[in-house]
């Protein structure tokens, strides 16, 4: 809701009291969700430019040039609050919204990703949320025919009252077909199409910009309902409009409905708009002007059309049988005017409506100090069972129950399915791109800045392990209430971390979204999510390069550990399992070591020296090794007594989550060249042992039964779901 200060500011600028419709319009556009009023002031810390960046942050999707006239579009967004209240429709419309963001730039949508966070699935409510969120994404994404190429799933009690649903859409477009979210020319028509307007999702953005109370069920009417069939028709219709160059501007109806959609296009174009609400096709009678301009009904698009092209546009919309109408015009007066049968319902200066809010004060509190000590650590009595326990942890176990519900192959461009280090899609001209996402919310809880930078580094390693060179970042920053100093401090520190990473690795951030107020207050107690800066990175392969997978693929090859291991046990999955919580200083972000390891690994990939590869992340060296063997025809025989670095025990070496490390399978003949490259970049490397033709996981001092390991890995999550 608007604050007293905001209403006073609007009254002062207008020179009169805003009426009911105007208040509703200001309320949605000045919501945190639409205005970024607490977050935008920090975005200067991000690297946003780069020679590949064709269109940066600010419109529906960022566009990045991958050469030879091929642009990749990326957008990322949250749909957390709706999914908590109505998981099926909330998640489905999250997917619907992100697809609209990408296609509204003229892109063909070619891939989807989803990053999910829930409370522990042993609680029935959380299992219910997970099952229905996945079903919502599955039903919607599968129906519209866009393959799922990646995702992430993490569980922690902090998400108990606030699940997170973050979605990514990837598109492709040629430069001459790009459509901008802008209304540049007065006299052009505003044409809406795709679906009718109803009362669903009224003021959804305002609801998403507050913390949950005990009465969350009442908000169900604020959740939109998706219609994938209508969306598929919109996708096909839009492809035709774009192909014939009929659009002068385009934006989808997202958060804030018609108010935000037309308002932002006028702001981008330096113009004004007049909207005649009685022309909007409705799905229910008796809607007021206010309801029509703030409704968030799904599957709607607003096009800016030049007069000479209007006839053809209407013809195509009619042929495709999609609801549509000319609802207004672009003007030169700088106002957003709402008319109902010729009578004024609202008249707001665009400069006030879009970004004209009074900037609120936010206080950055201090975060608790952390210790590097690991006095809690005890060497496990039985290494094998500790490893089995880790593989069965809900945060490591197989996610195939989730992924098998998503169509990963539609459009027939999927080179690598979900479940490996990165999903890989083929783009025009045989270009191949890899996509991955990451956020370790235990690291970010303990140190938002280091944890965020290091989560991004982990995503980077996912790509490098497959042989892809990272080229772009998108993010979705999920945090608690910015009006609380400690919560705001987490947010600001995380932005600093991501900013550092983007500059350190020269990777532009081209898309993103901020979701605040992910807290619930139950009986006076504030329950806040872990800081969750969800980071997505895409990478590109050298032309003709086949992505390297995780599974061991030759017997009698050497397994190398790349990078040094430090006794970084705080914030690890091992600590979480042993103590039931994380504490201390999480594994450090080490940009220098990370960069050297990345450069060396990419060079070894380019020379074709690596047969299979894994990066070391959650669960440490032990889990990374096991994952290479779980679904391979081969096994390994190792000597893990001497691992480069400063760990003091075998357990520390196996479970530390130190960054900048990889495992690489290299055949005997390629070994000298591989070692030479590692030495050239000063990357510590050690031969751990060999791959063998038998299905064994032999660590030297102990063995792990692969049969038990597979069972733990496969049932770790599903045991709570079936």
């Amino acid at each position: 809701m608007l604050t007293q200060e905001e209403i006073a500011h609007a009254t002062k600028v207008l020179g009169r009291e805003p009426n009911e419709t105007e208040l509703a319009m200001l309320d949605v556009l000045w919501s945190e969700h639409c205005s970024y009023k607490s977050s935008k002031r920090w975005f200067h810390l991000f690297k946003t430019r780069g020679e590949r960046v064709y269109l940066g942050i600010g419109e529906g999707a960022g566009l990045v040039d991958i050469g030879d006239g091929v642009l990749v579009g990326v957008a990322m967004e949250s749909h957390n609050h709706p999914s908590q209240v109505d998981p099926y429709n909330g998640a489905a419309t999250g997917v619907g919204g992100i697809i609209r963001d990408v296609i509204s730039q003229g892109c063909k949508a070619v891939g989807l990703m989803n990053c999910l966070r829930f409370g522990h699935p042993s609680k029935p409510r959380n299992a219910y949320l997970l099952e229905n969120v996945v079903r919502g994404i599955s039903d919607y994404g599968n129906s519209v025919g866009i393959p799922m190429v990646g995702g992430e799933l993490e569980f922690d009690d902090s998400y108990d009252g606030n699940c997170l649903v973050n979605v990514v859409c990837i598109g492709v477009v040629r430069p001459e077909k790009v459509v901008r979210s802008s209304a540049r020319t007065p006299g052009h028509y505003l044409v809406m199409f795709g679906a009718t307007t109803g009362r669903d999702g009224i003021a959804g953005v305002s609801f998403a910009s507050e913390t949950f109370s005990d009465e969350e069920e009442e908000n169900r009417g604020a959740v939109q309902i998706g219609d994938p069939l209508a969306k598929k028709v919109v996708i096909d219709t839009l492809a035709q409009l774009v192909e014939e160059n009929l659009l002068d501007g385009l934006q989808d109806f997202g958060g804030g409905g018609l108010t935000s959609c037309a308002g932002e296009m006028a702001a981008n174009g330096g113009t004004g708009v007049v909207v005649e609400v009685e022309k909007v096709p409705l799905r229910e009678p008796g809607m007021t002007a206010t309801e029509i301009v703030i409704s968030e009904s799904q599957e709607r698009m607003l096009a800016v059309v030049a007069p000479e092209k209007l006839e053809r546009v209407l013809e195509i919309l009619g042929e495709n049988d999609t609801p549509h109408a000319v609802i207004g015009k672009v003007t030169d007066d700088g106002y957003y005017t709402v008319l109902e049968n010729g009578e004024d319902r609202a008249q707001l200066p665009i400069s006030l409506l879009v970004g004209g809010f009074p900037v609120p004060e936010r206080e950055e509190g201090s975060l608790p100090p952390r210790s590097h000590g690991i006095s809690w650590y005890e060497e496990p009595e039985d290494y094998a069972s500790a490893i089995i326990e880790l593989l069965g942890s809900v945060n490591i176990a197989s996610r195939s129950w989730v992924y098998s519900q998503y169509d990963q192959h539609v459009q027939a461009n999927t080179v690598v399915d979900i479940g490996d280090n990165a999903g890989v899609l083929e783009f025009p001209l045989n270009k191949r791109l890899a996509f991955t996402s990451d956020c370790n919310s235990f690291w970010t809880l303990l140190d938002p800045q280091q944890g965020t930078a290091n989560s991004a580094a982990e995503a980077l390693r996912n790509l490098v392990a497959t042989g892809a060179r990272p080229i772009l970042i998108a993010d979705c920053l999920n945090f608690g209430n910015p009006e609380r100093p400690d919560s705001y401090a987490q947010f600001v520190e995380a932005v600093r971390g991501l900013g550092r990473f983007s500059h350190d690795f020269d990777l532009p951030i081209v898309g993103g979204n901020v979701s605040l107020y992910n807290e619930s207050e139950v009986e006076g107690v504030v329950h806040r999510i872990n800081p969750t800066p969800q980071i997505m990175i895409a990478g590109i392969y050298e032309l003709g390069y086949s992505p390297i997978r995780r599974n061991l693929c030759t017997p009698w090859a050497n397994i190398f550990l790349v990078g040094e291991t430090l006794p970084e046990l705080n914030g690890t999955e091992y600590q979480r399992l042993k103590l039931g919580e994380v504490r201390g200083f999480p594994p450090a972000y080490r940009p220098d070591a990370e960069k050297r390891a990345m450069t060396a690994m990419l060079e070894a990939h380019k020379a074709g020296l690596i047969r299979s590869c894994n990066n070391i992340g959650r669960g440490g060296l032990a889990v990374a090794l096991m994952k290479m063997a779980l679904y391979s025809k081969y096994g390994f025989k190792l000597n893990t007594e001497t691992v480069p670095g400063t760990t003091e025990t075998l357990g520390q070496a196996l479970f530390s989550e130190t960054s900048a490390r990889y495992l690489a399978e290299v055949t005997e003949t390629n070994q000298p060249q591989f070692l030479e490259i590692m030495a050239m970049y000063g990357v510590p490397v050690c031969e751990l042992g060999l791959t063998v033709a038998d299905r064994v996981a032999d660590f030297g001092k102990f063995r792990v039964s692969l049969e038990k390991a597979v069972e733990a890995f496969e049932t770790g999550l599903t045991k709570y779901l079936e």
Partner: protein, 231 residues
């Protein structure tokens, strides 16, 4: 040869199919939006009904598409002996409209399933499996309603007349309960009509037709289909 690729509202595999057909010599695929009706099929030498979610699958998979006017055109071509191939939702439409026996029920998991599966090709030759007799193919599936079911009479008839070209199997080609991804009776993944010119299959051959995608096992099925249009 002119191959009509049907698109109902909600069909979403039509471009994938057209792309692969274009790579097969002699195939001249063209898109037919269903609203154009049966007359748009007049010149067709064969028809593919691709996968997707026709009309959102809102009533029952394929049920609305099956009563569309354009289906009358498909039926006439089938009667003339032209090859008709229904993939995934296309298979569902072919059973719904009566060109193929049986029905496709919701998967026994009650969930959508997307995965790579192995298919055992029947040893009896059909137009679509020429040269593949007894082979084991690796092709992906992606469906919520792929659980093939039919009456006991139809079941014995399908077996007796060798009208089951593909059955789900394991990597070695053994047709086992574990390799059945959706609960289909007798692991049935595809059936053909009595004349042998209409086939419906749940797996997606067009998604296993380029080496970059990890398998080319689906390509010969589409090549056989194209060859069939020339007869």
């Amino acid at each position: 040869m002119a191959i009509a690729v049907l698109r109902f509202p909600g069909t979403n595999n039509e471009q994938d199919v057209i792309r692969i057909l274009n790579s097969i010599p002699g195939a001249d695929p063209y898109l037919v939006p269903s609203r154009l009706g049966a007359s748009a099929l007049r010149e067709a030498d064969g028809v593919v009904i691709p996968g997707g979610f026709s009309y959102g699958d809102y009533i029952r998979a394929g049920a609305v598409a099956a009563v569309g006017e354009v289906i009358e055109g498909v039926k006439s071509l089938a009667e003339e002996g032209r090859p008709i191939l229904g993939i995934c939702n296309g298979f569902q439409i072919l059973t719904e409209c009566g060109l193929l026996p049986g029905v496709l029920l919701p998967n026994n998991s009650a969930r959508f399933v997307c995965k790579w599966v192995y298919l055992r090709v029947s040893e009896e030759p059909t137009m679509f499996t020429d040269g593949l007799e007894n082979a084991v193919l690796r092709i992906p599936i992606a469906h919520a309603e792929g659980n093939y079911y039919c009456s006991p009479e139809n079941r014995s008839m399908l077996h007796a007349h060798s009208r089951i070209p593909f059955r789900y199997c394991d990597e070695e080609g053994n047709v086992t309960p574990e390799s059945n991804p959706n609960g289909s009776i007798d692991n049935i993944a595809a059936v053909v009509n009595e004349e042998g010119n209409v086939m419906g299959m749940m797996p997606h051959p067009e998604r296993a037709a380029r080496a970059a995608l990890g398998s080319t096992d689906g390509l010969p099925i589409l090549e056989n289909f194209v060859r069939g249009t020339k007869c």
